[in-house]
């Protein structure tokens, strides 16, 4: 059994990687830069060069000017608990410190010089004499941030100049929207693997001839050299391990185990991991209430319909199931909100917003009667959950009831039921011991259909009822164009879903003796 689960879980890994790849590609290759729309949405008013500078800053921060495959690899490396290479370090404040990234070389540098200058090897002692390693690291990090920013703006200036020259040459396709030389950042499918484009020779001549280009390029190279020197210094400082190392080594220097890092949310300036840690339990709570309800209500009603096949109960419940199943979840939510929750247009029976009352923090957990009735945290939460859970369950309930009925009817005509009857087993035992036990198998399989649908449905439910779960987080991320959150959210939901499917598989294997674990 354990080996079965392990094997089944191992198969999940390629699927998981495939899924994240699909998501990453979808989000990265979509036309329009999803990640930067927010940060640069000053749009028209912002001056062209400062706009370019902002974009350049974000490109650098998120590594957007690398080939997409590299970006994906880096992202996967961050979110994977299994990490490769040099271990990260953690400061005593809990911040994660990574080895510094490479400094991108100035664009088109080969047109102007043969070799980029090499900075001298770093000398930490000369940089910060007599300081302890952590402080050396901090100083060099500050220095690095400064030189790197300087370099970025110098490089941007150069790229804008080059863009201007190319425009004059009517080579607009090499110039990006922001006026910079294009080809530095991935755009659409061209950015998939390679990021540099070939310029025609007359453009090269024009670039070389332009004095402004020449000047800004020189500045960029100087700034590059400084940045590189600074980077080498911080790398050297990092290598002295100024902070304790994070994670747990598996194979020294190669593989280690660390916390998945989902990055920082642009729109909320908080770690995405923390956002998800808040949202995921909410969604799971809703589903954890909804799934058992579905099964406990649907199975008896489906069984009853099957046993009373052809009676009015069967027909009426069949019609009800189809109808329920066809009710769009958005409509159900809106109606519930308007007619059951809203106080002016409806009955006002349930709260409209959120999962807790405003004063929930001050509540006791259990209801109390002393000095008047107080609902307490538990009842308050349940009260808030009623409508969201109802909207989540009705469709699954209908599907599962129908499925139960169909499975029962299938098995009513099975040969082994005839055998059981021929033994003299009573009608009730035939239904419960034989028919139902066999109908259970397709019902377990149904979980594979129901659970993803419910996860999807919780997007709507959470949005309409303002429940701060994964669905709300996703929609917010979309409206705020927050790429890190979007990616992490979708990936986590995918993983939750896959674990649920794994659970269903294991349950099935337990329930059906015909599945062998070997």
């Amino acid at each position: 059994m354990t080996t079965y689960i392990v094997r089944r879980a191992l198969i999940m890994i390629p699927t998981l990687i495939g899924m994240t790849f699909l998501l990453f590609m979808l989000i990265s290759l979509a036309p329009g830069d999803f990640s930067m729309a927010l940060s640069v949405s000053g749009g028209g008013q912002m001056e062209a060069s400062s706009r370019a500078a902002t974009i350049a800053y974000y490109e650098d921060r998120y590594g957007l000017n690398d080939p997409i495959i590299v970006q994906y690899g880096r992202w996967l490396g961050r979110i994977s608990p299994l990490k490769f290479g040099v271990r990260d370090q953690r400061t005593d404040k809990g911040e994660l410190v990574r080895p510094p990234r490479e400094v991108r070389k100035p664009a088109l540098w080969k047109l102007f010089i043969d070799d980029l200058p090499n900075p001298p090897p770093p000398d930490l002692e000369a940089f910060a004499p007599g300081q302890e390693p952590a402080r050396v690291y901090r100083l060099s990090a500050n220095d690095y941030a400064r030189t790197r920013t300087t370099y970025l703006s110098a490089a941007t200036r150069f790229e804008v100049e080059a863009g201007r020259v190319l425009r004059e040459q009517s080579l607009d396709k090499f110039v990006a929207d922001d006026g910079r030389l294009d080809g530095a950042k991935p755009a659409g499918f061209e950015g998939f693997l390679f990021t540099t484009q070939r310029l025609p020779s007359e453009a090269v001549e024009a670039l070389k001839a332009d004095p402004d280009v020449e000047r800004t390029f020189g500045a960029a190279v100087t700034a590059y050299t400084n940045a590189l020197a600074s980077r080498n210094r911080i790398a050297a400082s990092f290598a002295t391990k100024p902070h304790p190392e994070a994670g747990m080594p598996l194979i020294p220097r190669l593989v280690w185990l660390g916390k998945p890092d989902f990055g920082i949310s642009v729109s909320r300036s908080r770690p995405v991991g923390a956002l998800i840690a808040e949202a995921l339990p909410v969604t799971l709570l809703l589903n954890a209430i909804a799934v058992p309800i579905i099964y406990f209500v649907a199975i008896p009603s489906g069984m009853l319909a099957a046993v009373r096949q052809g009676t009015w109960f069967d027909i009426a419940s069949g019609a009800l199931f189809v109808a329920l199943w066809s009710v769009p979840i958005v409509w159900a939510c809106v109606l519930a909100l308007g007619y059951l929750a809203n106080e002016t247009t409806g009955l006002g029976l349930f709260p409209v917003i959120g999962l807790h009352s405003d004063d929930a923090d001050a509540m006791r957990f259990l209801p109390s009667f002393a000095g008047g009735w107080r609902a307490g945290f538990l009842l308050d939460t349940l009260h808030h959950c009623v409508l969201p859970v109802a909207c989540l369950t009705y469709a699954g309930f209908a599907v599962l009831s129908k499925q139960t009925r169909a499975a029962m009817l299938d098995n009513f005509n099975a040969d082994y039921v005839r055998t059981a009857k021929a033994k003299g087993v009573s009608e009730k035992d035939v239904i419960f011991r034989h028919v139902f036990r066999n109908s259970l198998l397709p019902l377990i399989t149904m979980f594979v259909t129901i659970f993803p649908a419910m996860l999807g449905g919780s997007v709507i439910v959470e949005r309409v009822f303002s429940v701060p779960g994964m669905g709300s987080l996703l929609i917010d991320a979309i409206y705020l164009r927050d790429r890190e959150v979007l990616l992490a959210n979708a990936a986590i939901v995918g993983m939750v879903n896959m674990f649920a499917l794994l659970l269903a598989d294991v349950l099935y294997a337990v329930a059906d003796p015909r599945i062998s674990y070997k």
């Binding site: 699927t15 066809s326 769009p328």
Partner: protein, 580 residues
């Protein structure tokens, strides 16, 4: 006992024995598999009702511009005496093709010509496929040349006179010529000619309707000035025709409600304090939306002043010039016919003022017009995206099931990857990052939901693979595509097609959800979008925007589900078993 012919020997009771069956007594005449299944489906009242509803939706979808349009059907220019039809002028190519297509389709279906129904069905299918391709190509061309960031040569070319005819010809004839070539290769000469003719027609329509004239709804003021006389369609509002002063009108209110509301608000303001709303005497039935009982407010000079101002403001939607109406109001007041605001309201709206039968959305756009125009989106997204899903799914599933082994293993991982994400999440993410138009929406839904069809087809092909007719087809050296799609597909596609009905239903649901979230096609009426106006952050609830669009989605989804159920029952081999 007389001698009877054996076949005429009636069963002794109401029952028949196996021998009777063998003699042919009691056998139902065998018709085609699908014909029989369809006959079974149409025997169910629920399925009939579902088909009826879908026909209605299709009808509305195809003829929406002729039912609900802000452009008048006819305009009679009183000076020149010219008759013109702004409605026709503003029809887009898709409008024309859909309406004409439906008429042609119905005519072809019911025409008393000796063509088999199956052939007609095939003609309709391929005809609409070709038309769809042409429209898509036209859209792509237009998108490329008309884009803001189009390359210079494209922009220049677009300015030339030749652009429209060439583009229309390319769009119309490319699919036609491809189809014709294939048909020629299959030695179906007449079909090829038909495809080319259809292509020419399509090209002509596209050329005629290449650019959409801008929507300017200035007919009311011109009519008020007496320049024109206009005759409108049943619902005189376009789906995107909104006036900012008309936001969120209740069902049954007229366009002039804004004028009244304005006057009432002014009156309330003049009264000072909390206005009329706080006065319990005014909490009566005929109160206006701001809580003023209009019959208690006298039509005095101040109200007349307000009325004059607001009539001027509402000039574009008045049936007469504002000055004339003000003068009329003055007269009627003098004669004592208009004494309170309620009288004024009644007089102003008259009987013939265009009304918002099911209200408006928050932008003041007529909800009914949107409901009708949204039929098109719902039906087309359902059908097209499911077709895309079926084509992808069947192809991949067929390959998986037929080859098995490593290919199966590999492709099944792809299926699993798609299944590992909840469909709605994947849809939302995709819709969020990709461009928002109808075609992209269809493609997204199709590309995300194909796994079901793939799994069904895989299972069927897996079973079929070892059957004799497949083995013999293979042994005969037929090419792979022929074995897969000509010999195996017709036998293995049944579960996919039955499932397709449910798939269409869920595609419509998906469309509604995406539109609800604001991720639907831009500039396109949609039930989901309308529904999203029903609630807002402030906690308001607009019942008419909740009930009507929701009901429309529900009924359409229900219809597809009912048909799917009926089809599944009709095809279910377990139910067929008793039949001999």
């Amino acid at each position: 006992m007389s001698k009877e012919a054996p076949t005429e020997r009636a069963p002794t009771s109401d029952a028949i024995t196996g021998v009777h069956l063998m003699q042919g007594i009691g056998h139902q005449p065998t018709r085609g598999f699908w014909t029989e299944a369809w006959a079974d489906v149409t025997r169910r009242p629920a399925a009939i009702a579902a088909l009826g509803w879908l026909s209605l939706v299709i009808f509305f979808g195809a003829f929406a511009p002729f039912i609900a349009n802000g452009h008048p059907l006819w305009v009679h220019d009183t000076e020149t005496g010219d008759l013109s039809s702004p409605l026709v002028e503003h029809l887009s190519a898709v409008d024309v093709l859909l309406a004409a297509g439906l008429v042609v389709a119905l005519a072809l279906w019911f025409a008393p010509v000796p063509i088999e129904k199956q052939t007609r069905l095939r003609m309709l299918f391929f005809g609409s496929l070709q038309a769809g391709c042409s429209v898509l190509i036209a859209m792509v061309i237009d998108g490329y040349f008309g884009a803001r960031d189009a390359p210079d040569f494209a922009r220049q070319f677009e300015q030339t006179k030749l652009y429209k005819p060439i583009a229309a010809a390319v769009a119309g004839l490319t699919p036609a010529l491809i189809a014709a070539t294939i048909l020629m290769l299959l030695r179906l000469g007449w079909h090829a000619v038909a495809a080319v003719v259809l292509g020419l027609v399509l090209g002509g329509v596209l050329h005629q309707r290449w650019d959409d004239p801008p929507d300017v709804y200035d007919y009311a003021p011109r009519a008020a000035q007496g320049e024109i006389e206009a005759v409108y369609t049943l619902i005189p509002f376009g789906p995107q025709q909104g006036e900012t002063s008309l936001d969120l009108r209740q069902p049954g209110r007229s366009t002039l409600a804004a004028v009244i509301d304005g006057v009432v608000t002014e009156a309330a303001k003049r009264k000072g304090g909390g206005g009329f709303a706080d006065d319990p005497r005014f909490q009566r039935k005929d109160r206006s939306p701001n809580g003023v009982s209009m019959s208690t407010v006298a039509f005095d000079d101040a109200v007349m002043e307000d009325l004059r101002a607001h009539l001027e403001f509402a000039r574009p939607i008045l049936r007469e010039a504002p000055e004339d109406m003000a003068a009329q109001a003055e007269q009627l007041r003098a004669s004592g016919e208009l004494r309170t605001l309620a009288d004024v309201a009644r007089w102003l709206e008259g009987d013939d003022a265009p009304r918002f039968i099911v209200g408006t959305d928050s932008l003041g756009q007529d909800a009914l017009s949107q409901l009708i125009h949204a039929c098109r989106l719902s039906i087309s997204v359902g059908l097209v995206s499911t077709s895309i899903a079926v084509v992808i799914g069947v192809t991949i599933g067929a390959i998986m099931g037929y080859f098995g082994g490593k290919i199966d293993l590999l492709l099944y991982r792809v299926v699993e990857i798609f299944m590992s994400m909840p469909v709605l999440f994947l849809l939302i993410v995709a819709a969020a990052v990709l461009p928002r138009n109808t075609y992209m929406m269809m493609i997204i839904i199709g590309c995300v939901t194909w796994t079901g069809a793939a799994r069904f087809t895989r299972a069927e092909f897996y079973k079929l693979r070892d059957q004799d007719f497949v083995q013999s087809a293979r042994a005969a050296g037929l090419p792979l595509w022929s074995v897969l799609f000509k010999h195996m597909l017709p036998n293995g596609v049944t579960p996919v097609l039955v499932d397709a009905s449910f798939a269409i239903a869920s595609a419509i649901l998906a469309e509604a959800v995406l539109s609800y979230l604001g991720l639907g096609p831009a500039n396109q009426a949609s039930w989901g979008k309308l529904l999203s106006d029903a609630t807002n952050q402030v906690g308001n609830f607009v019942w008419w925007l909740a009930i009507f669009p929701g009901l429309a989605i529900f009924l359409t989804v229900l219809a597809y589900n009912l048909i799917g159920e009926a089809l599944r029952d009709a095809i279910d081999p377990r139910r067929k078993k008793a039949r001999v």
